[in-house]
């Protein structure tokens, strides 16, 4: 390919990269939220995301079969999102209650919850495989967002679906920001993140806040599952691993514990990947993504936007 060819496809490639990055960022928000409060890599988060995608798939199939609900995005999307968020929020609560809290209360080191989360991840994957079968599930994306719903801006092909996903991602990010900065719950979350014991002394029910954090983070992961299910059009029970890995990378890249950082990290990761594919070699896109991560961390050890962690966690 000549350089002129590359330049010709570059804008379109950037759009693909941004879309991919939005997907990573969406999943990363849940990671970063749980991490910011509990200082724990929730390895099962990718699988919670996967379950969100499955719930959305099942609901979509039911809606489609019922022939009652018109397959319009304005109707279908909220239904699917709410369903997936309720389900994954509940799973998040369960995970916190079963795989995190007992360990912490028994005085585990930071590594214990990590392995427990790995166990939960393996369990969830296999549970979904046993319930839904090993086969890939297909999202009927094009019955909700017809293929013709796309437009060209200056030669760049953009579909309505992508706009919808990006807008919802932005809304979720702003909503979370509002929640953390402006509400009673957000203040409690920040207090617990800052100093758990002091928060308890101040009369905050620490475990309730931790549980709610898990619940909200997981529900956001579930919503991401539905949206990305639509975009990917195919889902499987082990998709949480690859997606979770990228999302965690995005969260660290942006500065862990930092919601805007997660979104930014996702975008940068997506763009880096699409540029690597365009300019270098598709085979090495993940190598380049990780090299960028390592370089960023070498020069900015707290990620691009800096970590939003209290001082004691940084030492």
């Amino acid at each position: 390919m000549t350089f002129a060819d590359i330049l010709a496809i570059l804008p379109q490639q950037l759009v693909f990269g941004i879309t991919l990055g939005t997907a990573y960022g969406l999943i990363a928000i849940g990671y970063t939220m749980v991490y910011g409060v509990l200082f724990m890599i929730n390895f099962a988060h990718g699988d919670v995301f996967m379950i969100g995608a499955y719930v959305g798939w099942a609901l979509l199939g039911m809606l489609f079969a019922s022939h009652v609900v018109p397959m319009h995005p304005m109707i279908v999307l909220p239904l699917l999102l709410v369903g997936a968020m309720v389900m994954t929020g509940a799973i998040g609560l369960l995970l916190e209650r079963l795989a995190y809290r007992p360990l912490y209360q028994r005085g585990a080191t930071r590594l214990g919850p990590l392995i427990s989360a790995v166990g939960a991840s393996i369990f969830l994957q296999n549970a979904v495989m046993l319930i839904a079968g090993a086969r890939e599930k297909v999202y009927m994306t094009y019955s909700v967002f017809p293929r013709t719903w796309r437009f060209a801006v200056a030669g760049i092909n953009v579909s309505v679906l992508v706009i919808v996903i990006a807008s919802i991602a932005l809304l979720m990010m702003l909503g979370l920001h509002w929640l953390v900065q402006r509400t009673w719950l957000g203040r409690s979350i920040r207090a617990v993140a800052e100093d758990r014991e002091m928060a308890a002394v101040m009369g905050i029910d620490v475990w309730r806040v931790v549980a709610l954090t898990f619940c909200i983070g997981s529900a956001l992961g579930g919503a991401a599952g539905v949206l990305i299910g639509f975009y990917y059009t195919q889902i499987n029970f082990y998709m949480g691993y690859a997606a979770g890995l990228k999302a965690f990378t995005a969260a660290v890249l942006g500065g862990i514990g930092n919601v805007r950082g997660a979104m930014l990290g996702g975008l940068i990761l997506g763009i880096v990947e699409s540029l690597a594919v365009t300019f270098i070699n598709p085979a090495f896109k993940d190598v380049i993504a990780f090299v960028v991560l390592i370089l960023v961390l070498m020069f900015r050890p707290g990620g691009i936007l800096g970590e939003a962690l209290p001082d004691w966690k940084r030492v």
Binding site: Y35, F39, I41, L98, A99, P102, L103, R106, G107, A108, T109, R110, L111, G112, P113, L114, I115, S116, V118, G119, A120, S121, I122, F123, L124, Q125, N126, A127, L130, Y241, L245, F248, T249, V252, I256, A283, F284, D286, V287, F290, V291, L293, I294, L297, M298, P301, R314, V315
Partner: protein, 327 residues
């Protein structure tokens, strides 16, 4: 255990380990036990990095892979080299130790979880390079890996059966146990543990944390290098798929399950992680489900690991007790 029995325990364990092939009825179980020893060797190496020095390494499998491929390069028709076993094994060990330093060096400034994601990245990079360095020049053999690797042979004896491999791997695992103990109870081990407990205090106590961390990476990696060479010669073929991220997680689970930093604990962890899926094999579809559940349950009931050591609480004199409470 009464003290007078204590000194018999090591010879007893050694005798038991040596007798296993005579007791175990078939090659399958022998194979599983051999695999336990191989993974114990790997887990002991990771234990140095994670357990002793407290550096959370999620890409440990990279060293396992590099060790395997170095052995495969040097002892297979792939490059037409057929180095003697011990020489090729040593080359694996030395190469991985060098890679340990190379990968460790850029990560020294990073704190716990950042280190985790960066090492994870190195693991992924290694895997992708193993797959894709088959062109333009065929270095790694691509996804098809390298086959027809030479089996180990010394003094004209070529090892073929599982029990022979068992003794070979047991010997190296035994060496790893001895080295781990010596290092732990040495000035280097003191430095590692001090860094794990409190990096700043360790620096102030005069410990060169950079050197100590690099030593931990190098030694931990070299154990994986030995393990990799053993895997390559035992499996007689290596593929990139041997070195997926899940393998790193498995080895980390061994270290944590048994009790971080505890040498017998790490070996027990290896035994559990290798044997449990085999025990559940008869439940076919439910095997991994049960494995995941068991990991969670074990962590809930023994969060410090199965063989973690907790000293008895201080029997403080009453005066001190009062003071402590006043704090």
């Amino acid at each position: 255990m009464p003290a007078k029995w204590q000194r018999f325990s090591v010879p007893a364990i050694v005798a038991l380990a040596l007798a296993i092939p005579a007791v175990v009825p078939n090659a399958y179980q022998m194979g599983v036990i051999t695999r336990i020893c191989l993974y114990a060797l790997l887990a002991l190496g990771l234990n140095i990095v994670v357990g002793f020095a407290g550096l959370l390494d999620l890409g440990y499998v990279a060293f396992f892979g590099i060790g395997s491929y170095v052995y495969a390069f040097l002892a297979s028709p792939h490059f037409g080299l057929h180095w003697p076993f011990l020489l090729a094994l040593s080359a694996s060990v030395v190469t991985t130790a060098i890679f340990g330093v190379l990968i460790g060096a850029p990560t020294l400034r990073l704190r716990g979880d950042y280190l985790a994601i960066v090492t994870l990245g190195f693991g992924e990079i290694t895997y992708i390079l193993l797959i894709n360095l088959d062109r333009p020049i065929n270095i790694t053999g691509g996804p098809s890996g390298i086959v027809s690797i030479d089996p180990p042979s010394f003094l004209g004896i070529t090892l073929r059966d599982n029990w022979q491999y068992y003794y070979l791997i047991l010997a190296l695992m035994g060496a790893a146990v001895a080295l781990s103990r010596r290092l732990r109870d040495s000035r280097i081990g003191w430095a590692w543990q001090a860094i794990r407990e409190d990096e700043l205090a360790a620096q102030v106590m005069g410990i060169n944390t950079v050197a100590a961390k690099l030593q931990a990476f190098a030694i931990g990696a070299s154990f994986a290098g030995a393990g990799g060479a053993l895997l390559a010669s035992w499996q007689r073929s290596v593929f990139p798929d041997n070195f997926l991220f899940t393998e790193s997680v498995n080895i980390l689970a061994m270290v944590i399950l048994g009790g971080v930093g505890s040498i017998p604990g790490v070996i027990l962890g290896a035994a559990l992680i290798v044997a449990l899926p085999e025990i559940f094999r008869d439940f076919a579809l439910y095997r991994l489900l049960a494995f995941g559940l068991l990991l969670m349950i074990l962590m809930i009931f023994r969060p410090e690991g199965l063989l973690s050591f907790k000293g008895p609480p201080e029997e403080a004199d009453p005066l001190e007790q009062v003071t402590a409470e006043r704090q």
